[in-house]
């Protein structure tokens, strides 16, 4: 079945440093979604990418969808303590419907 892998699993950064998490799918995706889960919280939708090579920005966050639509990345510029949490990418399954296969997530820790 479809697999979605994320690296790294964990990342410690000093506040102000940049951070990047990478997502790879075993199959071509029609779209990819990114979610953030704060410690003790629930996943919150950040963004969806649909087009090959698409780049979207949300303030300090930059999301990219690969040309082959099998990989994606999230880059955070100048991290802040409010960025702490686990970032998940998720892609739709091969069947109809809205089933999402989530990656294992990258847990970001920011030292003030």
């Amino acid at each position: 079945g479809q697999q979605v892998m994320q690296i790294p699993q964990y990342q410690h950064v000093q506040e102000g440093e940049d951070f990047t998490t990478y997502c790879n799918s075993s199959t071509t995706l029609s779209n990819i979604q990114w979610y953030k889960q704060r410690p003790g919280g629930h996943p919150v939708f950040l963004i969806q990418l649909v087009k090959s090579g698409e780049v979207k920005k949300q303030k300090r966050l930059t999301f990219q969808f690969g040309e082959a639509k099998k990989n994606s990345s999230l880059h955070i510029t100048a991290t802040q303590t409010t960025d702490v949490g686990t970032y998940f990418c998720a892609g739709p399954g091969n069947n109809a419907g809205n089933m999402l296969t989530f990656g294992g997530g990258t847990r970001l820790m920011v030292k003030p």
């Binding site: 979610y35 629930h42 939708f45 419907g97 809205n98 089933m99 999402l100 989530f102």
Partner: protein
């Protein structure tokens, strides 16, 4: 505008027991999906309900069953609980069951099986 609500927030059960978790979707949403999230892992898809029917199912045994009511709320039932069923159970609602609909998650139910 109420978001996704789940109850209870925490639950402790013994092996072999049965449990029912409840979810009310975000206002205006008609599709409910259930996910299991073990500690330190990503959410794993259990099943999805749309128009009161199970539309899709993940790789979970028949001990996991569900229901969707006419008002779009949903229940997740787990029979014959195992220690490995201990996890955060997340309900997510969306609109139309389409492939591009973002999921809105509830706060989850933390289930502990002893």
């Amino acid at each position: 505008d109420a978001g996704v609500t789940q109850s209870p927030t925490h639950l402790i059960k013994t092996r072999g027991q049965q449990v029912t978790l409840r979810c009310s979707p975000k206002s205006g949403h008609d599709t409910v999906s259930w996910y299991q999230q073990a500690l330190g892992q990503g959410p794993q898809f259990i099943f999805q309900y749309y128009e009161e029917e199970e539309r899709q199912r993940g790789n979970f045994p028949d001990r996991f069953s569900g229901h969707q009511f006419p008002n779009y709320s949903s229940e997740l039932n787990v029979n014959a609980l195992l220690l490995g069923d201990s996890a955060l159970y997340l309900c997510a609602s969306s609109l139309g069951g389409g492939r591009t609909s973002p999921l809105h998650f509830g706060n989850g139910t933390r289930l502990t099986v002893t």
